[in-house]
Amino acid sequence: MTLAALQGHDSFSPMAIPEAARLSVVISIGGVPVRVNTTDPHFLAMLQKRYAGFVSVQPQAVFELDVSLSPPAFCDADGGVNVTHRAGRWLIEWGDLRAEWEIAGRRGTIQQTANPYSMDAVLRILHSLVLARQGGFLLHSSSAIRNGKAFLFSGVSGAGKTTMSRLAPPDATLLTDEISYVRREGNRYLAYGTPFAGELARPGENCSAPLSALFLLEKGLRNSIEPISPTEAIQRLMRNILFFADDAELVKLVFQSACEFASLVPMHRLVFVPDQRVWDMIR
């Protein structure tokens, strides 16, 4: 396909980047490599830097995304993300971001401005949809590995996710302070590091470990691990699972995944004082 053949399209026309003009990087999160193609070397350099710990040297990718950069346009920056699917394709619309990919072909196109947050959004949505089909999910939580076991610390904004990351002892490996990647393998779950950072402003380590427990965070006057009823645990888990799609069948799937997770992974309330002693309980 020549460049001339691409001219004259409307503002969003899915189109593949010609092989000769293609620069690419493979970003692998949760063991799922995604190739991102672009014609802009500055944008490529930005991606390579932003996802440095998650750039794969292997050329193989499960998904392939072609990025077309557009100038900033006036849009509703506070509008919510809209994720829908029709005729075997997913469509993401968020402000000046437009992304579309074929489910079967695992190939898609993105039209966005040259800002890193749009790519973050696309990757989060893509991975959340992939995980939904296999019983896993992305979760608003920090996570870390200690003694070969992974622990999740979940809660809404201000609950203490980043605090738990900041207080972690040197022998803990931080996977993320904001968005955890939870993948199901048989009857166990693994937590993977992600590049999605919160206030800590640094990506997690690109590694994984079997999940030992999920803690639902509450700040308090003492440190204690307390029981939680299954129904409350699942409600709080569902509130913190990242899921964007307007699709009732997928929502049901995520609910069942949350129930399965709760039946296999211990979940507790973690009441904590924001100092390092809380980590004495996390082993």
Binding site: Q235, M238, V251, A262
Partner: protein, 103 residues
């Protein structure tokens, strides 16, 4: 009073956990936790069995409760879930209708 027939909506996901039935609306993710009595009514909501029969055969028998009191409670419960689209309620067996009715 006209008979009521109740059927679980297809737009929900449900799971029994620790003796409680957890129901989630797939359209707006609202959660409902049903106690034992409510869970019995929920599980019997097949669209073909009248609510009065569910109350008599299941609720009164399993929980040793007065029939009138049980029926009042069941009516309130059913009407509340119907408002959220969780249960479908009709004066006829629901699978005999061309489209499910909701209140």
């Amino acid at each position: 009073m006209a008979e009521k027939y109740i059927s679980r909506s297809s737009e929900i996901a449900a799971r029994m956990l620790g003796g409680e039935m957890m129901v989630m609306s797939a359209t707006d993710s609202t959660f409902f936790t049903l106690n034992e009595v409510a869970s019995v009514i929920w599980q019997a909501a097949d669209g073909r069995t009248p609510l009065s029969e569910i109350v008599a055969a299941k609720v009164c028998r399993e929980f040793d409760v007065d029939r009138e009191q049980a029926q009042r409670g069941a009516d309130r419960f059913v009407d509340e879930l119907a408002q959220y689209g969780i249960l479908l309620v009709s004066e006829e067996p629901i699978d005999s209708l061309p489209f499910p009715e909701t209140q």
